[in-house]
């Protein structure tokens, strides 16, 4: 497994993603600057880490989604290569049209930074195969714009095709308004594209890889990718 991270101005979670990838793969991921027009040869996985690319100007992820490197990322995805977008990376993938929907301002208007339970909705993908179906895990969330919405037909399609990756829930796995931190439709915390080689999610699994800092529930995601 050879992984590369895309670095946009304003991204600040790349260190955490590097640590998680290094732990899972035993190799150092490549760092790719956004102004490049090509990815290093032989990458299996491209990661768009979290942060605040371009200060969230215009719309979250909107400007990064039009950066030169994104054409290469789209090509990588079209060839079946794996792409993972975390938090701002998820917003960028939606803005780039690689994932359905859009992430709007949190319904409660506040930036939410806390631990959050999520339920694994599809454990048969390259990103989630080391989780059990329906497993409830604890990730960190830290975002102001994580309110996932899409039109009715898109929601029906992604629900029907198993493209919902993770859903916000409580500690028992129950879904509802009380356990939905941002108002996302159907409590959607992460989605796949229709070929299941692109995943975007708002929570930060890369922060849950060490028992010293909150738990290891994120390890299985990176282990799935490295398997």
């Amino acid at each position: 497994m050879r992984a590369g991270l895309i670095l946009f101005p304003g991204i600040n979670r790349e260190g955490d993603a590097v640590r998680a990838l290094r732990q899972a793969t035993g190799a150092e991921p490549a760092i790719v600057w956004h102004a490049e027009s090509e990815l290093p040869p032989g990458l299996d996985l491209v990661v768009l880490p979290g942060g605040f690319s371009y200060g969230d100007y215009l719309r979250c992820g909107a400007i990064a989604a039009r950066a030169p490197i994104m054409r290469a990322v789209s090509g990588h995805a079209a060839r079946g290569g794996l792409v993972l977008g975390i938090c701002n990376g998820f917003q960028i993938l939606c803005e780039a049209g690689l994932l359905p929907g859009v992430l709007m301002r949190n319904a409660g208007l506040r930036f939410v930074c806390k631990m959050q339970h999520v339920r694994v909705e599809n454990a048969q993908t390259p990103f989630t195969r080391c989780y059990a179906p329906g497993e409830v895990v604890k990730f960190a969330i830290a975002h102001g714009e994580g309110n996932f919405i899409a039109d009715r037909d898109t929601i029906r399609r992604i629900e029907g095709e198993g493209q919902v990756a993770f859903r916000y829930c409580d500690a028992e796995g129950k879904i509802g308004d009380a356990s939905n931190p941002n108002g996302a439709l159907n409590s959607i915390a992460g989605v796949f594209n229709d070929r299941f080689n692109v995943l975007g999610l708002m929570p930060h699994p890369e922060n849950l890889i060490d028992p010293l800092v909150g738990g290891v529930d994120g390890r299985a995601l990176f282990a799935s990718l490295a398997a």
Partner: protein
């Protein structure tokens, strides 16, 4: 040539910022405020004076960057 592009949220899309502004206006005791929706305005200067071409170019700019047409509408005024 000068143009103004106005981007607004589609009806039915939740606008928590608009709601907060609406609440603040009501707090200032402005009478008769029924609702507030927040949008964006882009003032753009363009070379040339072909209005139809400008409109076409700006429409493409909206589709590709200025608006996310999943949740936003746009309007173009050549001024």
């Amino acid at each position: 040539m000068k143009a103004r592009v106005i981007v607004t949220l589609k009806s039915g899309v939740l606008d928590p910022q608009g709601k907060a502004i609406e609440g603040a206006l009501k707090g200032l005791t402005f009478e008769g405020v029924r609702s507030v929706r927040q949008g964006k305005v882009f003032d753009i200067e363009l070379n040339g004076d072909d209005r139809a071409a400008a409109r076409k170019k700006l429409s493409e700019a909206c589709e590709r960057l200025l608006a996310n047409t999943i949740v936003e509408n746009y309007a173009i005024e050549i001024v």
